[in-house]
Amino acid sequence: MGADFVSRRTVLKSLSIGAVAGSVLRVIPLEAAEFAHHIIESEKTEAKSGAYTPKFFDAHQYKTLQSLCETILPADADSGGAIEAGAPEFIDLLTSENTKYQGILGDGLKWLDSSCTTRYGKAYLESTPQQQKEILDLIAYRKSAEQDVSLSQAVEFFSFLRNFTADGFFTSKIGIKYLGYKGNTYLVEFPGCPPVPGV
């Protein structure tokens, strides 16, 4: 940590010198917190966007994965989508280290391409948006597997990928902002529940 290191106690003490006595609530700037905590910068912010080299998936699979992640949690008026959130990188990293994940996702992507080829004569990525929607609608709901048992694995694959994408998106900077999580900060006093009718 070296000479730059300042303990949080030091930061808190120095900031409290400037605090007005009797102030109800004081939030210490996050910059100070981050400085005090010499937080490591994530690999993501250091790397240029798009510079990520997949550790497990091949180039085609990874593009397909990116497309699926973005379809599951897309960009909208309120925030960016799963790609901007780094979900595909997160999924690739963990999958490269977990054989169970490799089985589910590897088999799932294979199934997707071969089903699209059978149905539409093209791999998933080359299929039209309408065709992509059609195949995803088939595997995005458990009731499809109830009606056609042969779809069970594909439904499980999509469910797994949906959870995984949500994990990646909602633990990202933009995902946390999208949810409106307001914590991980320093308060002098906890204000309790804001006044809301019915609560």
């Binding site: 940590m1 290191f5 303990s7 949080r8 106690r9 808190l12 981050e34 905590h37 937080i39 490591i40 994530s42 690999e43 379809t71 599951i72 949690l73 897309p74 909208d76 780094g86 997160f90 990293l93 963990l94 280290e97 977990n98 994940y101 995803l136 995005a140 709901y141 458990r142 469910s159 949906r162 959870n163 949500a166 994990d167 990646g168 998106f169 909602f170 633990t171 990202s172 900077k173 995902g175 946390i176 999208y178 949810l179 409106g180 999580y181 307001k182 914590g183 991980n184 900060t185 320093y186 308060l187 002098v188 906890f190 204000p191 309790g192 529940c193 804001p194 809301v196 019915g198 609560v199």
Partner: protein
């Protein structure tokens, strides 16, 4: 030239373990003037390096769940170094038909680095279990004897709470409690309707500065460790004052193998494995305080066999390893639609619940003996991996509508956990495995476990209570989920993330295992006397939860410290009188 070996250093006391019990003993004994050597099976703790306080999930490539996504719950990447369910090279076994999980810490401070900070006093009736309902045994000490030590511990470590006069849940020396979160306001109203007592919780977290420790800054991350020591851990609150006396020598990475008995029948040394070299070493002391955690302490005594004590040290009664209990645990979660309307706000608070339900039916005629308390958590916690599984599986599909559903339901779940008293039974105990040894050749423990009928009835009652609270609050029970839908901010509750709703916990899972070196007035049925001193060997003491005679629903840590303080005062007195 004549070879003279260096004079053998003999400490006044050797303490084995640096957690709640060992840390307290180290503080009291060194401040009382004794020289102490402490053996810790893990490394020293460095908060600046080891604590990941205030880090965001996206600042770790694995977002907190570790390589391959395999570190979840209590062992996630954010937690303070605390311990493990499985340790490579250090197995334990379970007897056929028994399930038991053993969480072990190998780090300065032990489990106090991550614990839920729940600091509840045992009540007068808890120490008189047999006299109250005819089951189990009474403690050899009364609440009145223990109370002054609860006062000392609370005054020193800092505990928030409120004076409530709840029967058999004694009030303590309290700092003011924090204000309730929205989730707690909702649950409190439902409890009022149902006449279930719901009061400010009692946690070892500072809401005011104390002894050079800053007050809490409400980031809800106690489980990650706190660099300003605003919460209690032995490593940051007990060990430093002991070190400051200059009389504490800490030997880290020292795995105790055996307490060595001298020709006079007293303990004279502890042999240990120096884990950094694998070599066997020995420290000499005039007294030994065993505080390695209940089962590890039992294991050490059982492994300390000698010609005088062929059955293990302090075990002429044969009770060492017996009377093993854990808390009865059961969980249920609910969805609360009114929380969808909450504006984004800071919900963090302290690292744990601000309100809880103490046992509110004390003295009633219930369908089971003893009681339980309820912990609960949820709401707008820091998002984490696994937190959206339930919503995704319920909503299905994909696209903007899924994204919006995740947002609108974020923070709308509350999980409830019951913690109840188990009555010791003959089928739950640990013993040395006759064959299996750890990587240093030390025989390991084999666990036998069975919940009794009373525990199962209690767990069923918990489920019924959780349901009524959830429904009274206008919520919906979430049944059959694969996982707890929201990560609770309480360190201890994280352990429950993988526990399916609606069942009784596995033995050991609540990490309140205790009773394996119990105290009592009769040397035939107990290993220790009322001062936690071995009946058989007067310079051996036990200072963790192993001496407990019963396992009330009030989490053990505060009582470990109060009892260790009392034991240490006695030891100090005996040492001064030259009685050891």
């Amino acid at each position: 030239m004549l070879q003279i070996s260096p004079a053998k250093k003999v400490y006044d006391v050797c303490i084995i373990g640096s957690g709640a019990g060992g840390g307290t003993a180290a503080k009291v004994l060194t401040e009382g003037g004794l020289s102490v050597v402490m053996l810790e099976a893990g490394p020293r703790l460095d908060p600046d390096k080891d604590f990941k306080e205030h880090m965001w999930p996206y600042q770790l490539p694995h977002r907190g769940v570790g390589v391959g996504g395999k570190q979840r719950g209590i062992g996630d990447e954010f937690m303070a170094p605390n311990g493990f369910w499985e340790i490579e090279g250090e197995p334990y076994t379970t007897a056929p038909g028994s399930s038991f999980r053993w969480f072990r810490s190998r780090i300065e401070g032990g489990r106090t680095n991550h614990w839920g900070r729940i600091a509840l006093r045992f009540g007068p009736a808890d120490l008189r279990a047999h006299s109250t309902d005819g089951f189990g045994d009474d403690w050899p000490i009364s609440y009145e004897e223990l109370a002054p030590y609860y006062d000392k511990v609370e005054s020193y470590i800092g505990v928030f709470g409120s004076k409530e006069n709840v029967p058999n849940s004694p009030d303590g020396v309290f700092m003011p409690p924090p204000k309730p979160r929205c989730t707690e306001t909702i649950v409190k109203k439902a409890c009022d309707k149902l006449k279930i007592t719901c009061i400010p919780s009692r946690l070892a977290i500072l809401t005011k500065p104390l002894n050079d420790r800053d007050a809490c800054h409400y980031c809800a991350q106690c489980g990650r460790g706190c660099r300003s020591a605003s919460n209690f851990s032995s490593s940051q609150v007990m060990i430093p004052p002991a070190m400051a006396t200059g009389r504490l020598t800490m030997i880290a990475n020292a795995m105790a193998r055996e307490i060595v008995v001298g020709a006079n029948g007293k303990a004279e040394a502890v042999s240990y494995i120096d884990k950094s070299t694998g070599s066997e070493q020995r420290v000499y002391a005039k007294a030994v305080v065993v505080a390695a955690s209940a089962c590890e302490s039992a294991r050490l005594l059982l492994n300390s066999k000698s010609a005088t004590f062929s059955n293990g040290l302090a075990n002429s009664s044969g009770v060492v390893g017996r009377y093993l209990t854990d808390s009865v645990g059961s969980d249920l979660a609910g969805y609360f639609p009114q929380l969808e309307n909450m504006p984004p706000h800071n919900h963090d608070g302290v690292g744990g619940m601000h309100m809880y339900m103490p046992w509110w039916r004390f003295g009633n005629k219930n369908e089971f003996l003893r009681g339980y308390h309820i912990e609960f958590g949820g709401g707008r916690d820091m998002p984490g991996v696994g937190g959206f599984e339930y919503v995704c599986e319920e909503t299905e599909g994909y696209g903007v509508s899924l994204k919006q559903k995740c947002r609108s339901s974020y923070g709308t779940f509350i999980g409830f956990s019951g913690r109840g008293e188990m009555i010791p039974n003959e089928k739950s105990f640990c013993e040395l495995d006759p064959e299996v040894k750890d990587k240093w050749g030390i025989p390991v423990l084999r666990f036998h476990w069975q919940w009794g009928e009373n525990e199962n009835k209690m767990a069923a009652d918990m489920q019924q209570t959780f349901r009524s609270i959830i429904e009274a609050a206008g919520g919906t029970v979430i049944a059959g989920t694969r996982r707890h839908p929201q990560k609770s901010s309480a360190g201890e509750s994280n352990a429950l993330q993988h526990q399916p709703a609606g069942r009784i916990s596995t033995g050991g899972e609540i990490i309140h295992e205790l009773g394996t070196v119990r105290m009592g007035n009769d040397p035939k049925t107990s290993a220790l006397n009322k001062n936690c001193q071995a009946h058989d060997v007067k310079n051996v003491f036990v200072a963790d939860a192993a001496p407990f005679v019963s396992n009330p629903d009030k989490n053990p840590t505060l009582t470990i410290m109060a009892l260790s303080w009392k034991t240490s005062d006695y030891l100090l007195d005996q040492a001064k009188k030259g009685e050891l």
